[in-house]
Amino acid sequence: MIATSLPRRTALRLLQRASLALALLAPAPLLAAESAAVTSPRVTATLLSSRDAVAPGERFQVALTQKLAPGWHSYWQNPGDSGEATRIEWTLPEGVSAGAIQWPAPKAIRVEPLVNFGFEDNVLLPVEITVPASAKPGETLTLSAKATWLVCEKICIPEEGAFALDLPIAATGAIDTAAQAQIDQAIAALPKPAGFTAKLTAKGEDKLALTLPGLPAGASNVRFFPILDTLIEHAAAQPVDNGALTLTRSTAFKVGAPTTDGVLTFDDNGTRRALALSAEVEPALLLAAAAPAQVPAKVTLPPPPAEDLTLLLALAFAFAGGLILNLMPCVLPVLFIKALGFAQVAQASRSEVRQQGLFFLAGVLATFFVLASLVIALGAGWGFQLQSPPLVILLAVLMTLIGFNLIGAFEIGGRLQGVGDGLASRSGPVGAFMTGALAVVVATPCTAPFMGAAMGYALTQPPAAALSIFMALALGFAAPVVALSFAPGLLRLLPKPGRWMIVLKQAFAFPMFATAIWLIWVATMQAGADGALAALVAILVAGFALWLIGVTRGSGRALRAVAAAAALLLVGAASAFVIESATPSAQPTAQAGTDAPGVWSPARVAELQAQGKPVFVNFTAAWCITCLANDRVALSRQEVKEAFAKLGVAYLKADWTNRDPVIAATLTEYGRAGVPLYLFYPGTKGAQAEVLPQLLTPETVVSAAQRAAGKEVKTATAQ
């Protein structure tokens, strides 16, 4: 056996030599465990490998070595008061991976009165490489790295180097003993896991206490190096007392995570030790970081409520918003009639009124629950109900019929009233429940200005919190009617039932007709002329069907059945027609014209920003009344147009009249559940947008435009 193995070994050596000779002849880099050095008068850097040859599936260590000239230093991952950490970017064959730099414990290098964290003399930055099991023996593994580092004495020079190592892949790896020893030594000197958790707590206004339960009793010369560069004043003394270090808070103090890491160095019985430390951060410090310490120079506007809502505040906002919804032109008539109904029933039975109040509440809550569940589950965004043309048309029909009922057109037979406005005015618990549902359905388009913030907040919350916000809105919405039902005494404040009730009821028909007109317009914006036709046909058919039923009311059974069947057939046919014809049109609804806004897309914004143009984006929808009001009072005003023209602002419109997942995603990103949303992007590539308030004035838009353009239109008033 020995006899045969010897020649084989010799053959192998010969082969190795031959390949070495070949490699020398070829222009390719040497097969070696250390890359060619990158040198400057300050640094000699190489990439060192612990293996001469690597085996498939194995992990091994390489290291970036830096030999620094006397007086010069390179930097740790947190460079301290100035400087920049060394970085390595790898280019590796497929399947090969490189770990992060395993940072040695840094030295505190004083640059009075400041301090840098880094390395002097010789430093090895080890990195673990993983070879895939699929690597093929006989082939070569090429590790390419581009490293950048800053080297400073007092002056600083940024340097970089490209390193390449070609390692043969063999069935069994070959260790480079010298390199391995060097890297092993570096790894042995890395900070060891501390084995205990430190605690970071506030100590007075500008100090921190780092409690170190595992610090040896005799430790001296203790120093904590945080990885986070906004934690402490690096140059401040760190007195140790009773196993706790006193640190000075950074003037840029900011901690974003509940634990923060660092390295602790100290002398223990004459040996320098380094521990990798993880510290739990006192929750109050996380909050402290968030609070801006700044006192504003001039306070002009209260901060918009949208920014930082707590759940409780959001609930309060939602409740108040619900109350306000009662006053909306489309809702008030429905509720008022309900209240009048109470007044009439109240004479008969107080308990019945209370019961109706509670059923109304149940109707409101149930409908909100269904809508809210849909919004949360689908992530659809508030107002999505109005993105479907058939639904918009259904609402238009409903509004028209309620209007005709209010005006008295359906009060032909005594009992017909119940059919005339759907189930809403039917007396009894079912009627009360349906009134609640109807009121919610007709109220949905009016929510934006008051509930935008609360709803945006709601959608960023876990489902339970989101649902509770919607329920608070529902409670606020139902509150006035429920209160009335429990205090019928209030109703007695009204004049005695009489002719005034009929007049008022008729007058309330007109807001309903107005709402219907608006909805038909929305349907037209969504589906074009076909949408208008579908809406009007639907209203015609609904009216005719009701008339058929009403006119045959007193007739025989057979005739009534025929009329009901005909009405049903007509309604069915009309529904099919509506669904068929009222499909969202592909045409953008923006009017053509020279200064008409462009069509929004995230790519378009990026493109315009790259051209140096500030970009204004108007997220709007035809069914959003707030949006239209803002268009009228601010965006289409001459001074705004002039400012846009002067500052070279690109105006883009994101139209959410019909469904659009990209717009919906963008709204969510900015914490909004629906439109309007106004964004002003500065004309710098990648710069963040400023969010404008939901209610615009020409001044807010113009000043935002100036900020985005970074200049004033008129001469700046001297500060």
Partner: protein, 212 residues
Amino acid sequence: MTDVTRQSFIAGLTAIALSLGSGAAFAQSAAKPGAKAPDFSVVDVDGKLQKLSDYAGKTVILEWTNHDCPYVRKHYNSATMQTLQKDMAKDGIVWLSVISSPVGEQGHVDAAKAKELTKTRDAAPASILLDPKSQLARAYGAQTTPHMYIIDPKGTLAYAGAIDDKPSSSASSLTGAKSYVRQAVAELKAGKAVSEPATKAYGCVVKYAPVS
């Protein structure tokens, strides 16, 4: 004026009380955002005495600089620093560049050289303060070049820290960088609180003169 004096008196007392309370020595008094900015009286390149109190009612920006520092060069070679200076000037903001390198250290220049640098680089500071004894740097706790400070019209330090969010000396890092200075100035103009009043400055170390 009496009001200002009283304020600084109270601020001084508070500072003393705080440092006594926490048992710290007066090591390094870095100026803190939200507090009164340290007043100064420093000779500029025209031999004029520049006082912070002269600019009461105006926003003042201090830029620590060292023309040979690679991080400073990144901002000047790309003209981003000059553009920022000009934009701020248009807003009526007073931009003061500060050179704190002592004689014999990198970045140290005399008045003539400083003016020449302004001319050749097409820079637009309102003035350049010469601080070869690093006293102004000590008062503000300046650590790096560049290190930026914004003082609001009331004399409160509104911002201290980096010029942008890309701590690198490579020119490519300028693309997509967020300017903390522009952000803070825009917020001040809008009457809002500065959302990020303090950030970690990056760059070359400020070359301090030994305490004499």
